[in-house]
Amino acid sequence: MKTKMFLTLTLFLACGLALFVFADNQEEEEEKNLLVFPKAYKTKSVSNGGKINGVVKFDGEAPEMKKLEIVKDKATCGKVDKFDESLVVGEDNAIKNTIVYLMDITEGKDFDAEAKKPEIDQKNCKFTPHVQIVPVKVRLTMLNNDPVTHNVNIADININKQQTRMIKRLRINAMTKPQGPVEVKCDIHGWMRAWVAYVPHPYFAVTNEKGEFSLENVPAGTYKLGYWHETLGNNNKEPVTVEVTAGGEVKQDFTLKMKK
């Protein structure tokens, strides 16, 4: 009898250990992701959804933006001064280019027509916008409005395409898996940077100069609200919980600090 007890105990212990090991792995996996995506997402028509909006601000004195040294194609690239956009803090400490999004929504609206035609412009040797949301299975279009050659290097998804000055419009392969934000570089002009997030649902917003974001037509429910910023990090570990009511409006501001 005692041996049986012992065996059962061992079994439990083994199971516990296995669970522990697997759970640990999973956490590690998630930590690598910069954004949190739901396992699956289903579109449905949403009527009388709620709204989440707010402002993202910087805590403390914002560092000055570094002016970029233009070492190539000066006639085109040097026309306007350019600054390192890894942290853009405007008036009232408003932070531009922060992604604010729902982490765990599994059902909701479809992307609107405009969101399905994402573009990044290359003008004066700068990518605009600096952060772009691209739905999965949708092709990102790169525009070249400069009389010089660029290249579009997104190493994380193994894409590196030359876009000579003659190729005004170049599309980038769609992704099937949500991922990112991945860094977009131009190696011809080493200072050019942008970020692309491949996302499975439309509840993603990027803050404007005033730090504002707005997620609209959200089905009523309780959600985890996340943010991501290139320099200031994310809140994957401690998302904010928001409760959205039909037709209601939730205000949720964020204050971000420099990472230590």
Binding site: V71, T149, N160, K161, T164, L170, N173, A174, D187, G190
Partner: protein, 573 residues
């Protein structure tokens, strides 16, 4: 009874729980051999977990590959695709020239190499997730090498923007070269296309073709897929017409209705073909019609690409030049009267002698990642003077005395040409130590990019024991840096009054060696590239006497130095 059943079931489950993960692991990690080989031969560079962070990785550039991102440079597959097993097997077999990645043909058996391929694939999950085998670049319909093909390729080299990184003449001195970094943010340089023996993945037109069609994943070098070609989908004639229309619009001219329709039609053809190319790249199902559009469009692209591959091939000599020993020893040629100036065409009548360089790794600070392949030398002399033309490729022109912000040091390009103070008396008379002498001193000509018209004479008794000579000899010096190549022209009298100078006699073999600094690669002080001792001779006229001993001695001592270098390298690694 029930209890026994329960126990048995429990035992069974327990067994499963314990065994399952290990089963999974076996399938995933391949056989034990692969793991063993990896841990013994590869891990000290590539890291135990394949992250490219082995103990020997830090000093190396390019860094040993991090296998966890699935980025492989040398593939036979299309852009964005993983390599085939054969690609991996081949690169492991032959290694990657110009990097620290060795070839394993002799030290690992075929089976061991196959098993280690399986093992390194376990570091990136994409290999398991892929249902279809990676698509290979189509090599059919190769256009053979010809002058015409090279000429067409030359145009494409500029049109496609290769020139931005690789430079006008392919020496890797493009205007974007200084700022390039790889996917891990380590500094990287465009290949010097005139030295294809240093290519990582082979120098045949097929290799070159695969490199730019498929790209060099993880490096800044883009992939030149279909839709990145101008007017993809249009025939050459259509493209020409369309270009004319586009130019009209650009110049602000009105198009006639007919022209507008034509332009719209061409736009449509281009757009459809580009869409087909994306369908292809994404591995989507394609209708026979779309597939035909894609294939037709790619035909034009492949044709252009073969021309480009032939052009790139044409930039290098047929094979790496023979080292300047034996019958390739530098023989200064006698001419009567005035010696040729730097830009004189007379230089073109001579073949250069080729002096390979290697990183200085004997004394700290060392150069483990040399950026300069070799120095080429030509020479003439007359009754009173000798003139040398030294040339070497350098991707960056660093003349500045400006301090580097991080290190507080100044980096600039430079060269030093080394001779013994007195030529050895005979074959058995030993030469000074090749690293700037020792007990036996050496005599040096040092030139720096910051003072391009002067030469300094040094006497040295060791790599850190060099002194400027008090009386500086009479030299004529000229130099030039164009398209990634330095030329240094030095003229001197055969004899001087200074006892510390080298005196030159016709038909005497004189040892010569080089040190070169590439400021753009962080070369400074002992961190530089060097050669071992070679020799040169003022070829007597008429050249009837045969030299047997001196070249033989040169050959022997070169062999000795190669041995020494190997020994040092082995000791250091």
């Amino acid at each position: 009874m029930r209890i026994t059943m329960l126990t048995l079931t429990s035992l069974f489950i327990l067994a499963c729980v314990v065994m399952l993960p290990s089963f999974g692991q076996e399938a995933q990690e391949g056989s034990l051999i692969g793991k063993q080989v990896y841990e013994e031969s590869c891990a000290h560079c590539h890291g135990l977990e394949g992250r490219g962070d082995g103990s020997g990785a830090e000093n190396l550039l390019p860094r040993p590959r991090d296998f966890t991102r699935g980025l492989y440079k040398i593939r036979s597959t299309e852009s964005g695709q993983l390599p085939t097993d054969k690609d991996l097997f081949d690169i492991i077999t032959v290694g990657m020239p110009g990097t620290s990645m060795p070839g394993w043909e002799t030290s690992l058996s075929t089976n061991e190499r196959e098993e280690v391929v399986k093992y390194i694939k376990t570091f990136f999950s994409g290999f398991q997730e892929n249902e279809k085998p990676p698509r290979e670049v189509r090599l059919a319909d190769k256009i053979p090498y010809s002058k015409e093909s090279v000429e067409i390729g030359k145009g494409l080299y500029v049109e496609l923007g290769c020139v931005e990184c690789h430079g006008n003449l392919g020496r890797g001195d493009g205007t974007s070269a200084p700022t390039l970094v790889d996917a891990w943010d380590f500094k990287t340089w465009p290949a010097n296309l005139t030295e294809n023996w240093n290519f990582r993945g082979g120098s045949d037109p097929e290799d070159i073709f695969k490199r730019f069609i498929g790209g060099i994943a993880g490096s800044p070098m883009p992939a030149f897929q279909g839709d990145t070609f101008y007017h993809f989908g249009l025939t050459p004639e259509q493209s020409e017409q369309y270009a004319a229309l586009e130019k009209k619009v650009e110049d602000g001219e009105e198009l006639t209705t007919e022209e507008e329709e034509l332009a719209a039609q061409y736009f449509e053809i281009n757009d459809t073909a580009a869409t087909a190319a994306l369908d292809w790249a994404e591995g989507l199902e394609m209708s026979p019609e779309t597939l035909k559009i894609y294939n037709d469009a790619m035909k034009v692209v492949y044709e252009k690409s073969w021309h480009l591959a032939n052009y790139v091939k044409s930039l290098s000599p047929e094979k790496r030049p023979e080292f300047a020993i034996g019958k390739h020893v530098l023989r200064s040629q006698y001419i009567q009267g005035e010696l040729p100036a730097l830009a004189d065409e007379t230089w073109n009548t001579l073949e250069f002698s080729y002096y390979p360089l290697f990183g200085q790794i004997v004394v700290e600070p060392r150069q483990f990642n040399p950026s300069i392949d070799s120095v080429n030398v030509k020479s003439f002399y007359n009754d009173t003077e000798v003139v040398f033309l030294f040339s070497w490729d350098d991707k960056t022109h660093n003349t500045s005395e400006e301090e580097n912000e991080e290190t507080g040091k100044t980096y600039q390009d430079a060269i030093a040409i080394q001779f013994p103070v007195r030529p050895p008396k005979g074959p058995t008379d030993p030469k000074p130590y090749f690293l700037w002498g020792g007990k036996k001193p050496v005599y040096l000509w040092q030139w720096k990019a910051s003072a391009p018209d002067t030469l300094t004479e040094l006497t040295a008794k060791g790599i850190d024991k060099a002194e400027e000579q008090e009386a500086q000899g009479n030299f004529a010096v000229e130099s030039d840096y164009t398209d990634g190549k330095y030329s240094l022209w030095v003229k001197r009298s055969l004899k001087t009054d200074d006892k510390k100078d080298l005196q030159l006699d016709v038909a005497t073999f004189v040892p010569i060696a080089f040190s070169v600094w590439d400021g753009g690669n962080g070369d400074i002080d002992t961190k530089r590239v060097i050669s071992s001792w070679y020799s040169f001779v003022l070829e007597p006229l008429p050249s009837t006497r045969r030299f047997i001993y001196p070249p033989l001695v040169a050959l022997l001592s070169f062999g000795l130095l190669v041995g020494l270098r190997r020994f040092i390298q082995r000791r250091n690694s």
